[in-house]
């Protein structure tokens, strides 16, 4: 199983766009739409969008009321 590269801190808190195979991050943006558009500009028509959490945040779960 192919491992993906570590998301570096420079993208923490931003939306990032991976290439379709998730081998590298090709673009970023403040919003999802911005990251998607930036990825398309560099030729990635099917990016995988991801929101990179801030580097000082640890994630927890949620429940519906």
């Amino acid at each position: 199983m192919q491992q993906h590269p570590t998301v570096p801190r420079k993208w923490a808190g931003k939306w990032i766009a991976w290439d379709n195979a998730m081998t590298r991050v090709v673009a970023s943006g403040i919003t999802a739409a911005e990251a998607k558009a930036a990825a398309e500009l560099v030729g990635e028509s099917k990016p995988v969008l991801d929101k990179a959490p801030p580097i000082d945040v640890h994630l927890i779960g949620a429940r519906m009321r």
Binding site: P8, V48, L49, D50, G61, A62, M64
Partner: protein, 135 residues
């Protein structure tokens, strides 16, 4: 299907001495009335539902204006406003694809957390047998 964990650089601390955390985020496609988007969603066994950022609702063409608001609560006790919507989710790997409809909760922008897509029990985990290997 097998997916690798995604790794994120974080502040080094006593609990994260290597400065990296592993998160079970997997690629899947969300299909809405007028748009689709490929996202990395967090597989979250602590979430009762699938929760998605309202920002993504715009891309999918889901109109949240007329949706009734509900509440979700994080383990820290904070109440979040969510609006229900129905979309389709699709998992693909190595030429194999599963696609299904699901009711999901869209998180209001003001309540957005550090993750945009939480793949919880209803709408996601209920359809799969999942195991995790953090090694």
């Amino acid at each position: 299907m097998k997916f690798p964990y995604l790794r994120y650089e974080v502040v080094r601390s006593s609990t994260t001495p290597e400065g990296v955390v592993y998160r079970p985020r997997i690629p899947l496609t969300l299909h809405g009335p007028t748009g689709s988007i490929l996202v990395a969603g967090l597989v979250d066994t602590g979430a009762d539902h699938v929760f998605i950022s309202a920002e993504i609702a715009d891309i999918l063409g889901v109109d949240l204006e007329e949706k009734q608001a509900g509440k979700a609560e994080g383990v820290d006790g904070n109440l979040l406003t969510v609006r229900d919507g129905e979309i389709e989710l699709e998992l693909c790997q190595d030429g194999v694809s599963w696609r299904w409809s699901a009711k999901v909760g869209f998180l209001e922008l003001s309540d957005e957390g550090p993750t945009a897509v939480y793949l919880g029990q209803l709408g996601f985990l209920e359809y799969f047998s999942a195991s995790f290997d953090g090694d």
